[in-house]
């Protein structure tokens, strides 16, 4: 059963069509990879899904509810959580607080309760704290919970960003180029981590350039080029597809392969 479905999602910036009538589905508990050359519209597409852009036309359905054009914070509340291509952790605050902010929309603590029902308010905040600590333990950042996010190693910041996204108990997790700037060892760790998350029941969409990473991680891959969906298939099929090779490597290079 698909948990996310897009119908002809299009995003125009003036005369430029960044995303052109993309139809796709994400199935429950799978890792869907989206690949494509630079400027293929992958990130724009994700931004249109998560409410950072409003799609120019087309529809997005999440768990059978239409979420087209909702503001980002509402989409997050519905259960789609994401990370960013250019790393957007909250750098001047602690690791713990970063993840607690990620859990924001799952902390049921109305403002007046702070003063009128302080005990309940404190209890709820404490429950969130325990949940976040468990999450940090799971990714191995628990000892660094008081460290400022900007003082973490780059790879750890990437993990922290994913952890922050996970704190909102998302039904769908979107990772936008999680490997950017990582060395191959960090990449393998990340691949294992992403697969572990899937095995724990998460549904994940990954956008990435790195083919090695995508081939090991993805259950299914969508290739985008020039804003449109170009191919869809298993990693095996995509790897052996001559057209995809042409898109990626250019005509002659592909023939040499």
């Amino acid at each position: 059963m698909p948990i996310l479905e897009t119908r002809d999602v299009t995003k125009r910036f003036g005369g430029l069509v960044a995303v052109n009538q993309v139809c796709m589905t994400v199935n429950n508990n799978e890792i869907l990879g989206i690949i494509g050359p630079n400027g293929a519209g992958k990130t724009s597409f994700i931004n249109a899904l998560t409410g950072i852009y409003k799609p120019s036309s087309g529809q997005v359905f999440f768990q059978d509810k239409e979420i087209t054009g909702l503001p980002a914070y509402k989409i997050a509340k519905q259960g789609i959580s994401r990370t960013f291509q250019n790393l957007r952790v909250f750098s001047n605050i602690s690791v713990l607080e970063n993840v607690l902010i990620g859990a924001h929309c799952r902390i049921d603590n109305p403002f007046h309760h702070i003063f009128l029902r302080p005990l309940r308010s404190r209890k709820i905040e404490h429950q969130a704290y325990e949940k976040v600590i468990a999450l940090l333990k799971n990714v191995g950042l628990e000892e660094k919970k008081e460290t400022l996010a900007k003082n973490l190693a780059y790879g750890e910041q990437r993990i922290l960003e994913i952890c922050r996204a996970l704190a909102s108990d998302p039904q769908l997790l979107i990772l936008d180029e999680p490997c950017a700037g990582m060395n191959s060892m960090e990449m393998d760790t990340l691949a294992d981590f992403v697969k572990k998350l899937r095995n724990e029941g998460n549904t994940i969409v990954v956008i990435e350039h790195n083919m090695r990473f995508m081939m090991t991680v993805s259950d299914r891959i969508i290739v985008m080029t020039a804003g449109a969906k170009f191919r869809e298939g298993t990693p095996e099929e995509i790897r052996n597809d001559l057209e995809v090779q042409k898109v990626y490597l250019g005509e002659q290079e592909a023939e040499r392969c």
Binding site: T50, I52, P71, A103, I114
Partner: protein, 315 residues
């Protein structure tokens, strides 16, 4: 200096208890009315700066019009008490609420306007307030100000001497601190910080950034209204010159020098340094501002995050 002792739970408790006792006993040791009046002035700025810290230090909104909300509080109390026979408690509450409502209205544009442009809106509002207070003579009595504000009574208790005002101010300051601490310890405080750090990321964490910005701004203004109300009964007079742009800037300087962000007490260090400096160098007249400017530059060079600050100002 080894700070670890003060960061431990016992150390903090001792420090806190000691400070509380000192603050409570101040009037018994300080018998000089002049010095006590400086303490009262500091309390007013402390309330203002704690509120401003929520706006500037937590949420990262630069407000150049904080004095206007302070003024709204002061004028509300002055007018209600002199013309409508309100008691102090009622006028105090009305001042706080009115300043907060004004804060909500001014913060509404943050939905569309951000950064420097929002700063300009607050600057313009501050000036509009001052001009209205100066020019609407029938209502505010213009530059002469409203005088003869009655002696405040709280549940039959008359507040007359400097010492009385000291305890009243301390009470309001304690209220400010306790409520702010309760708010900032929950997801609301964290949401404000998230907005300061990265608004787009905050949005995708499920934080309705527009509402939260309005919330932080108007809560900060609520305290400014309280401080204004206190000023009105303390001075027994309010004039537009109490609420000039210089006042707004001074508050921002105090918050930055003291330190913005998580540590709610940090801005108070700025309040103390700046108020004492202003008084000590009073005799040097115009050169005073030169010296104060120098102090600020020195603090920012040596400790860019402020005396007790944890996070430096971004953007």
């Amino acid at each position: 200096m080894d700070m670890s002792f003060f960061e431990s739970k016992m150390g903090r408790g001792l420090l806190f208890g000691g400070l509380t006792i000192c603050l409570l006993l101040t009037p018994t040791f300080v018998t000089d009315i002049y010095i006590l009046s400086i303490f009262n002035l500091m309390i007013i700025y402390a309330i203002l700066c704690m509120g401003l810290n929520l706006i500037l230090g937590f949420t990262g909104l630069l407000s150049l019009g904080h004095a206007a909300f302070y003024g709204i509080g002061a004028y509300t109390t002055a007018i209600l008490m002199t013309r409508f026979g309100f008691g102090f408690v009622a006028a105090f509450c009305a001042s706080a609420v009115l300043a907060m409502i004004a804060g909500i209205i001014i913060a509404l544009p943050t939905r569309k306007v951000r950064g420097d442009y929002f700063c300009l809106i607050t600057l313009a509002f501050g000036e509009i307030f001052r001009l209205v207070a100066t020019s609407w003579i029938e209502f505010t009595r213009g530059a002469m100000g409203i005088v003869g504000i009655p002696i405040p009574k709280i549940f039959g208790l008359q507040i007359v001497t400097e010492t009385h005002f000291y305890y009243l101010g301390l009470g309001i300051l304690t209220f400010t601190y306790l409520t702010l601490r309760a708010i900032t310890k929950t997801r609301y405080g964290r949401a404000f910080i998230a907005i300061r750090e990265d608004e787009l990321a905050a949005d995708t964490m499920g934080i309705n950034t527009s509402i939260y910005k309005i919330m932080a701004f108007s809560i900060g203004c609520l305290y400014a209204g309280m401080a204004g109300s206190f000023l009105a009964v303390y001075q027994t007079a309010v004039t537009p010159s109490n609420f000039r742009l210089e006042e707004s800037c001074l508050m921002i300087i105090m918050v930055i020098v003291g330190g913005m962000g998580r540590n709610l007490f940090a801005p108070l260090a700025g309040v103390a340094v700046m108020t004492v400096a202003t008084e000590v160098f009073r005799s040097t007249a115009e050169y005073r501002m030169l010296i104060i400017g120098l102090i600020m530059i020195l603090v920012l060079l040596i400790r860019p995050q402020g005396i007790f600050g944890s996070s430096s100002f971004k953007n």
